[in-house]
Amino acid sequence: MFKESVAIALRALTANKLRSILTMLGIIIGVGAVIAMVSVGMGVREKVQTSIASLGSNMLIVSPGAASSQGVRSASGSATTLVLEDADYIKKTVGGIDHVAPTVSKQYQLVAGNQNWTTSVYGVTPDYMAIRSLTVGSGSFVTQAHLSSRTRVAVLGATVVQNLFGDANPIGQSIRINNAPYQVIGVLDSKGQSSMGQDQDDVVLVPLTTAQERLIGITHINSINIQVSAMDDMNRVQAQVENLLRQRHRISGTKEDDFSVRNLTSIMEMATETASTITLLLGSIAAISLVVGGIGIMNIMMVSVTERTREIGIRKALGATYQDIMLQFLIESVVIGVLGGVLGVGLGVVAAQAIALFGELNTVVSVLAIVVAFGFSVAVGLFFGIYPAQKAAKLDPIEALRYE
């Protein structure tokens, strides 16, 4: 019986090809839109995740808190109590840590030959390379020897190289930072923009001790990046670091910390959640068009039932029961949903590729979105087919046979 009903449905659909295709188009566009929109949302999510991960994964960032003097509190980061020794101590005493990278930074004007450029100069340790997932394209990175001897050497980001040297090879050249000469020992590979839109290649890295003592003239540091070995360990390490720094800075009881520890994983979770919300929003808007497509199915099924009143009358006279007629029309609308769903999946995948290709948007076609959108289109076909099918099944055979 089921096989016959499918055959009858296909015959009815092919008898009215243009009308069937137009009806299906509603579902095709709906399913296609859901898949394309969700893939855009998933693409945004993936991009956010990778750009946060490029800051370094499993990262804790310790930064100085607000300085406070006689009740007057300055801006966050103004405290000068965070020092290099804190970083060394954390590395020595806290377990489950891969790298600890203390940094200082300040903006300076750089001069090379007749070119000048103003950018942030970072004082870093060798660990900084691993923690920020940097790679040196040519030359070498800051070494422990540079740190001990406070050597005036610099590693340049791609943007800085472009602005100071153009296409020339900068390795071995000298640049002036704050009027003191520094030898260029390496160039970083390009990392592109960060998730916040910052140019991550617009940096100059010098040894931390050189920056502190010979450039900026400070004894404190601006931040400590800590890479934790395991994601699950993040909270324990964070608590331990906070405790340790309170002890070292002699902060007791309810007194306010003079530092803050941020957890990049929680930032990532937040950003991922935001992107998921965007995905859901885009998907829901697209799903509305799928429902509209369903109404189109219902509309055309109503017309079809009216047109075929006589056929229904004949079938009933020959012994078709309520269920037989119901099944016949339900299967017809489900077939529209299934065919429309299949074509819509194709359209959605192609549209997602096209958006990635021409729209400069990252798209990720998700299998889940395909399955859900397809299932939804079949469900829409079923749901919007029920009423017309019932109408057909309830027809009185005598009335239906008399219908012209």
Binding site: A317, G319, L401
Partner: protein, 226 residues
């Protein structure tokens, strides 16, 4: 067995008025009879036909078909009764236009849940029997009126019903085709089927062995020929 009608009435409500299409009909039809129901339009013969064919239910009265009371059956049971026990032949053939002659004949067996192979074999045999063996794959619009009615008769016989009901079966046919169709009914009568024919043409009624005349919802006369 056969058909037993007792005090069958059928009333329709049109607006505030109640119209009695059948005013109390009692009738007995034995297996194998060849009956013609005659009467002018509005006499109630079509209503009687619908009730006999289980397409409609009487307002009151009893209808026993092959020993079973059918006046009170539900819609689906009536559908099953039509499917198994009654074959219909209509004035305008009522073939499904998008199906071949063979599929049309096999259709009642779809609703009787017969397997495809068996179904098509039976339908092919019946089309051979009505002389349309060469036209099995033709669509109804490729057939003449007489051929279409023969397809319809084959369809009426496919589930081996005990009763064949025909409503003006020759109404849309020329004289030659009409004669062919009536010969076919005579053959079925000889084979033992009960045949109930509704017509207003005396020449067609002449083929029957018993003529029942209906007027104003009542049986006016019931004549048996020897």
């Amino acid at each position: 067995m056969g058909i037993l009608l007792k005090d069958i009435t059928k009333q329709y409500t049109i607006g505030d008025e109640t119209v009695a299409a059948l005013a109390g009909i009692s009738l007995e039809v034995r297996d194998g009879e060849f009956i013609a129901i005659m009467g002018p339009s509005g006499s109630g013969k079509s209503t009687l036909m619908n009730i006999l064919g289980c397409l409609d239910r009487p307002t009151a009265g009893s209808y026993v078909l092959d020993g079973q009371e059918v006046a009170t059956l539900g819609d689906d049971d009536l559908a099953r009764t039509r499917n198994k026990r009654i074959g219909f032949v209509f004035q305008n053939f009522n073939l499904l236009s998008r199906m071949t002659a063979l599929d049309n004949v096999a259709l009642p067996q779809v609703y009787a849940r017969v397997g495809e192979k068996e179904r098509l074999e039976k339908a092919a045999a019946l089309l051979d029997a009505v002389g349309l063996g060469a036209r099995k794959q033709h669509m109804p619009n490729e057939l003449s009126g007489g051929q279409r009615q023969r397809v319809a008769i084959a369809r009426a016989l496919v589930n081996d019903p005990s009763i064949v009901m025909a409503d003006e079966p020759t109404g849309n046919l020329d004289t030659r085709s009409s004669v062919e169709i009536m010969r076919l009914f005579e053959t079925l009568h000889v084979q033992g089927k009960t045949i109930i024919l509704v017509t207003h043409e005396p020449e067609i009624a002449a083929y029957a062995k018993r003529v029942i005349t209906v007027r104003d919802g009542l049986v006016l006369s019931d004549e048996k020929k020897e």
